[in-house]
C-alpha cells in the first residue's frame, strides 16, 4: 500500500498517513454526507420559503472554478459549508416560527379585546401566510368609534394593484 509513516515532533507518537484505499473510502463517505446534507438543505429551503421568511435563498456566491474531482480536503470543505448553511437556515426557521407564533397569539388577543390593542397592525406575511393583507384594529365608524370606544379587527383587501389606482380613476373635471 505504500503508507507513509509520520512521526509527530516532540511526542514520539507515530501517525500513519491513510493509504489510497482509505482515502477513497473517506471520499465516498464524504460524498454520502454531502448527498444527505443537500437533501436536508433542500427541505429546509422549501420550509423557509413556505413560511415566507426573508432571505431564505441567500447564498454567498463564491467563485466556481469548474467541475472536477475533489480531493479529501475539498470534499470536507463542501461538507462543512453545507452543514453551516443548514444550521443557519434551521436557526432562521426556528426564530421565524417563534416570531410567527407570537404574532398569531397577538392576533388572537386583538380579536378578543380590540380596545386594548388600538391601531395594532399585523401583516399576513408576519403570520407566514400568503397575500399582502394586513390585520388591523380600527375604530368602527371612524371618529365616532374612537370617541365611543367601538373597536374592531379588520383585514385589508390584499395586494395593491400592479398598475396603481390612478390609471383606473375617473378623469378629472376640467
Amino acid at each position: 500500500m505504500g503508507a507513509e509513516l509520520l512521526t509527530a515532533a516532540g511526542t514520539g507518537s507515530r501517525l500513519t498517513r491513510p493509504g489510497p484505499a482509505a482515502e477513497a473510502a473517506a471520499r465516498r463517505t464524504l460524498r454520502t454526507q454531502i448527498a444527505s446534507l443537500e437533501a436536508e438543505l433542500a427541505e429546509a429551503f422549501v420550509t423557509a420559503f413556505e413560511m415566507r421568511l426573508d432571505r431564505a435563498g441567500d447564498v454567498a456566491a463564491a467563485a466556481v472554478p469548474g467541475p472536477r474531482l475533489l480531493d479529501l480536503g475539498e470534499l470536507e470543505q463542501v461538507r462543512d459549508e453545507l452543514a453551516g448553511r443548514l444550521r443557519e437556515l434551521r436557526l432562521r426557521i426556528s426564530a421565524g416560527a417563534e416570531l410567527q407564533a407570537r404574532k398569531r397569539e397577538l392576533l388572537a388577543q386583538m380579536q378578543l379585546e380590540p380596545g386594548r390593542h388600538r391601531f395594532t397592525r399585523i401583516s399576513c406575511r408576519e403570520l407566514g401566510e400568503p397575500g399582502c393583507g394586513v390585520w388591523q384594529v380600527r375604530p368602527r365608524l371612524g371618529p365616532v368609534g374612537m370617541l365611543m370606544g367601538w373597536w374592531q379587527v379588520t383585514l385589508s383587501s390584499g395586494c395593491p394593484l400592479a398598475v396603481g389606482r390612478r390609471r383606473h380613476a375617473a378623469p378629472s373635471r376640467p
Partner: protein, 217 residues
C-alpha cells in the same frame, strides 16, 4: 420520421478515474440527422404548452424532487454550487419565470430544451461531424502542449479521442456546437447517481422525436 430509424442510445466511455470516484456519472448518446433551422409550429406549440406547466412555487420545490436533487447533489460533489451555477432543469425553469415563457431558439436547441423540461435530464447536441465515430465520453481535461486549453486542465469534460467538446454540464464549445453546415447531431444526455437509465433514454428519444417532427412537417 422519414428514412431508417436511428440506432438507439449508446453509453459513452467514462475514464476510469472518473468512474471510480463518481460511479453514477455517465453519458448516453446517439446520432440523428438535423440542422440548425427554425422550429416548426408543432415544436413551438409544445414549448408554449410546457411554459404553462410550472408556477413559481413548483420551481422552488423542484429541488426536493428526486431527479433535480440527484443533479444538485452531483454538482456539490464535483465542486459546483447549484445555488450559484444552477442545474439545467432549474436554469430552464428560472429562465421561464424571468421571460414569462420558454423561448424558442432553433430546432436543435428547442428539442434539447423540451427533453430537459419533460424529464429533468439535460440533453446537449454536438455537430456529428466534429465527433469521433466512437462517440463522446467523460474524462478529465489535460493541459495541451502546444495550444491554449479550451477548458481548465483537471476539469471534468465531455470529450472523445480527438478533442474536448464541452465542460461537464456546460454548453458545447463553439468548435463542436451545431452550426449552419450541420447535417447531423450527436445528442448526449448526462446521468448521475440516482437517475435511472430509462430517464436518460427517454430524454434522448424525446429530443429525437422533436427533431423528427420537423422532418415530418
Amino acid at each position: 420520421m422519414t428514412g431508417a430509424e436511428p440506432p438507439g442510445p449508446r453509453p459513452g466511455e467514462v475514464e476510469a478515474a472518473v468512474a471510480s470516484e463518481l460511479p453514477g456519472l455517465r453519458l448516453v448518446w446517439l446520432t440523428v440527422p438535423a440542422g440548425v433551422v427554425s422550429s416548426p409550429p408543432t415544436v413551438v406549440a409544445r414549448l408554449r404548452a410546457l411554459s404553462d406547466r410550472d408556477r413559481g412555487s413548483t420551481v422552488v420545490a423542484m429541488r426536493t424532487r428526486p431527479i433535480p436533487r440527484a443533479y444538485r447533489t452531483c454538482y456539490r460533489q464535483i465542486g459546483l454550487d447549484p445555488d450559484v451555477e444552477r442545474i439545467p432543469a432549474e436554469a430552464a425553469a428560472t429562465a421561464r419565470l424571468l421571460h414569462g415563457r420558454l423561448r424558442s431558439v432553433d430546432l436543435i436547441a428547442d428539442a434539447c430544451l423540451i427533453a430537459l423540461v419533460e424529464t429533468g435530464v439535460p440533453v446537449w447536441a454536438l455537430d456529428a461531424a466534429a465527433v469521433d465515430a466512437v462517440g463522446p465520453g467523460l474524462g478529465i481535461a489535460q493541459a495541451p502542449a502546444d495550444a491554449p486549453a479550451p477548458v481548465a486542465p483537471g476539469s471534468l469534460v465531455v470529450a472523445d479521442v480527438r478533442r474536448v467538446h464541452a465542460a461537464l454540464f456546460g454548453a458545447p464549445l463553439a468548435r463542436s456546437a451545431p452550426g449552419p453546415s450541420t447535417s447531423a447531431v450527436a445528442l448526449y444526455a448526462i446521468g448521475v447517481a440516482g437517475v435511472p437509465e430509462i430517464h436518460l433514454h427517454e430524454a434522448l428519444w424525446l429530443a429525437c422525436e422533436m427533431l423528427g417532427a420537423a422532418e415530418d412537417g
